[in-house]
C-alpha cells in the first residue's frame, strides 16, 4: 500500500506540473497605414447640406451652425447653375476675416507639401504623380496664383462634389 510520503510527493509533483507554466508575454499593436479615398470610389454626389458643411469646416476649421446651414442650403437650391452658386458662396467665404487658410508665403516656401495637403484637405486623397507635377509646375510658373485661387478651384471642382 502506498505510503503517506508517496501521496505527498505525487500531489506536490502534480501541483508543480500544472501550476508552473512559463509566462509568455504577448502584446498586439496597430501598424500605421494611411487610408485615403480614390477617385474611382467617389460615386455619390454630396447634397447641398453635405457640401456646405464640409466646405465650411475646411475653410473655417469649425462646424457651421444649423441655422446658417439651412439658410445657405436654400440659397444654393435657388440658383440653377450650381457652379455659379458655389463660386458665389466661396467668394463670400473668402471675403471673411475669420478664414483659416495657409499664407501665400507658406505655399511658396513648400509648394509640393502644400499641394499634397490641399489634396488631402479637399479631396481626401493624395495626388497622383501627374497631378502633383501639374500643380507644382502651375503654381511655380504663375506667380499670381494665390492660395485663395487654389482653394477655390478645389472647392468648385466636380470631385469635391462627390464622396
Amino acid at each position: 500500500m502506498p505510503s503517506f510520503k508517496f501521496y505527498i510527493v505525487s500531489v506536490g509533483l502534480l501541483v508543480s506540473i500544472i501550476s508552473c507554466n512559463k509566462k509568455v508575454d504577448v502584446s498586439y499593436g496597430i501598424e500605421d497605414i494611411a487610408v485615403y479615398e480614390t477617385k474611382a470610389q467617389k460615386q455619390k454626389a454630396k447634397n447641398e447640406a453635405e457640401y456646405i458643411s464640409i466646405l465650411y469646416t475646411n475653410l473655417f476649421q469649425e462646424a457651421i451652425s444649423p441655422a446658417t446651414l439651412y439658410q445657405t442650403q436654400n440659397v444654393l437650391y435657388s440658383i440653377g447653375d450650381q457652379n455659379v452658386a458655389k463660386e458665389m458662396l466661396l467668394s463670400n467665404y473668402f471675403n471673411r476675416t475669420d478664414l483659416k487658410i495657409p499664407t501665400e508665403q507658406y505655399m511658396r516656401s513648400n509648394i509640393e507639401g502644400f499641394v499634397i495637403e490641399t489634396y488631402k484637405r479637399f479631396l481626401l486623397r493624395t495626388p497622383s504623380e501627374a497631378e502633383k507635377t501639374y500643380f507644382i509646375r502651375y503654381i511655380t510658373n504663375n506667380k499670381d496664383v494665390t492660395v485663395e485661387m487654389v482653394y477655390s478651384a478645389f472647392a468648385a471642382s466636380d470631385e469635391y462634389g462627390y464622396y
Binding site: 454626389a45 436654400n74 435657388s78 440658383i79 440653377g80 463670400n92 470631385e159 462634389g161
Partner: protein, 446 residues
C-alpha cells in the same frame, strides 16, 4: 500626293474648319430663322390655380358666393370689362373703410386680351399645380410626372437650346419659391436633352431675399483675368475626375456667362441696398418680388426665353377674399411687367411675344372653409379645375378672341409648340416625340 488630290483635300479641310464651329447641338448647320415671329418670348405661368368664373368670365361673387348682381371684371389689365360695383373687397385698403375697397388703377390702356390673342376656354391636362406647370413648360401631358423630380419630358429651354442654338443665359426660369418642386423646372433629366441644354434659374424671393443677402451679398468682385488661373486649375481637376453625364446634377454656363451672372447677382444686391430695384406700384408679396427681379433679368440679359411662375392665388384653398385680392394683384403685376418691357428695354420693346396662362383652374363647388366675409373657399380637383384661358400679345400676334365657355379651343400643352413656332423650330419640337400628340401651335388653331 497629286496636285488635284491635294487641292480637293485642302478645300474639304478649310471648308470643314469654317463650317464646324457653326453646327448647332442638334446637328443642323443653321438655325431656322426665316419663320421667327419675334426675338423674345416671356411666359407668365399665372398665379396658382385660377377659376374661369372670377377671371375671364368676370362673374366675381355672383357665381362663386351667390351674391346677386355682384359681377364684373377684377383683372382689368388682362381682360376687357367693367369692374364690379358691388361688394368690392379686392383692392387697396382705405383707412376707415372696409378692407380692399379701392381697386388698383389699371396700368394698360387696352387689356392684353384685346391687344392680342385671347383663348377664352382652354383644356388643362391636370387639375394640380406641379403637373400643370410641367404641362406649360414641357408641352407634355405629365401623366407620369412625380413630385420632387425634374420634368420627365424636355422643357422649352432644352428644345430652344438644342434646336435653336440658344445659350444658357438666353433661357431663364424664375420661380416663386423653393417648395413644391418648382426649382426643378429649369431642365428635365431627359436622356436626349437634359441638363446640358437646361435654362438658368433664380428663385428671387430666396436668391435675393434676406437669406440670399446674408449668404451672397458679400462676394468679392473678381475680374475674368483674376479668375482665369482658378478656372484652369478647376478644369484640370475636372478632366482628371472625368464626371460622367449620368452623374451631372446642374446646368452649365460658359465661364463668361458664369462671370456675367455673378456680376449680375453682386450688382443686384448693390441696387437693392440703394433701393433701386423697381417694383410694381401696388405690388407686395412673393409674386411681386419675382416679377421685379424678372424685370432686372430682362433688362440685363435680354433673354430669348423667360418663364416665370406666380402662386399667391393659391390661398383660395382657405380664403376666398384673399384669393380675389391676389388675382387683382397678379393682374396688376403682370400688366406692369409688360409695360416695363415696352418702356424700359428698347431691344425687347417691339420684338417680344408675351404669353400668360394659368397652370390649372379651380373647382366648380366650394369646400366648407369660410373666410372673414363668410365666403367659401375653393380647391382644385374636379373638371372645372381643368378649364383655363390663355392670352398672347406682342409682335406678329393678331388681335383675336377664340372660343367661348361652350366651345373650348386648344389645350394647355399648346404653349410649348406655340413658342417653338415663334422661334421657327416647331417641326423639331413636334418631331421630338415628347410632347402631347394633340398639342399644336396656337397660331395654327386660328
Amino acid at each position: 500626293m497629286k496636285r488635284k488630290e491635294f487641292i480637293k483635300k485642302s478645300a474639304t479641310l478649310i471648308g470643314g474648319g469654317i463650317v464646324a464651329p457653326y453646327i448647332l447641338p442638334s446637328g443642323r448647320l443653321f438655325a431656322r430663322t426665316g419663320t421667327e415671329k419675334a426675338k423674345h418670348v416671356v411666359l407668365v405661368m399665372f398665379a396658382g390655380g385660377v377659376r374661369q368664373q372670377e377671371s375671364v368670365l368676370g362673374r366675381y361673387l355672383e357665381d362663386s358666393q351667390g351674391v346677386t348682381g355682384a359681377v364684373g371684371n377684377i383683372m382689368p389689365n388682362l381682360f376687357a370689362g367693367n369692374a364690379p360695383d358691388k361688394k368690392v373687397v379686392y383692392g387697396l385698403d382705405v383707412p376707415g373703410e372696409v378692407r380692399g375697397t379701392d381697386p388698383i388703377p389699371r396700368l394698360l390702356d387696352n387689356a392684353m386680351g384685346e391687344q392680342g390673342m385671347l383663348f377664352k376656354e382652354v383644356r388643362a391636362q391636370s387639375a394640380g399645380h406641379y403637373v400643370g406647370l410641367n404641362t406649360l413648360i414641357t408641352g407634355s401631358t405629365g401623366v407620369a410626372q412625380g413630385l420632387k423630380v425634374r420634368p420627365n419630358s424636355p422643357t422649352i429651354f432644352e428644345y430652344l437650346r438644342r434646336h435653336r442654338g440658344f445659350s444658357a443665359t438666353d433661357c431663364w426660369f424664375l420661380g416663386n419659391g423653393i417648395g413644391n418642386s418648382t426649382p426643378l423646372l429649369n431642365s428635365s433629366d431627359n436622356i436626349d436633352y437634359g441638363l446640358d441644354y437646361g435654362g438658368n434659374m433664380f428663385i428671387p424671393p430666396v436668391t435675393f431675399g434676406s437669406s440670399g443677402r446674408n449668404t451672397l451679398a458679400n462676394a468679392k468682385p473678381y475680374s475674368n483675368q483674376e479668375l482665369e488661373p482658378m478656372y484652369k486649375m478647376k478644369s484640370f481637376l475636372d478632366q482628371s475626375f472625368a464626371l460622367e453625364k449620368a452623374f451631372q446634377t446642374t446646368i452649365k454656363n460658359t465661364a463668361e456667362e458664369r462671370t456675367r451672372i455673378k456680376t449680375f447677382i453682386r450688382n443686384t444686391f448693390i441696387k437693392q441696398g440703394l433701393g433701386q430695384i423697381q417694383r410694381p406700384p401696388s405690388g407686395s408679396g412673393g409674386d411681386a418680388t419675382t416679377v421685379s427681379y424678372a424685370a432686372e433679368i430682362l433688362k440685363e440679359f435680354k433673354p430669348r426665353m423667360l418663364a416665370l411662375n406666380m402662386s399667391q392665388v393659391d390661398g383660395c384653398h382657405s380664403n376666398f377674399t384673399g384669393y380675389l385680392r391676389a388675382l387683382h394683384r397678379a393682374d396688376h403685376i403682370t400688366g406692369w411687367l409688360w409695360q416695363y418691357i415696352q418702356n424700359n428695354i428698347p431691344e425687347m420693346a417691339n420684338d417680344t411675344i408675351f404669353i400668360v396662362a394659368p397652370e390649372c383652374g379651380r373647382n366648380l363647388n366650394p369646400n366648407p372653409i369660410i373666410d372673414e366675409n363668410d365666403w367659401f373657399a375653393y380647391d382644385h380637383s374636379d373638371y372645372n379645375a381643368r378649364r383655363v384661358w390663355s392670352v398672347m400679345l406682342g409682335k406678329n400676334v393678331p388681335a383675336v378672341q377664340v372660343g367661348s365657355e361652350s366651345n373650348a379651343v386648344g389645350r394647355l400643352t399648346d404653349i410649348v409648340p406655340t413658342i417653338a413656332d415663334i422661334f421657327g423650330v416647331y417641326d423639331d419640337v413636334k418631331g421630338s416625340g415628347y410632347i402631347d400628340p394633340l398639342a399644336t401651335s396656337q397660331f395654327m388653331r386660328l
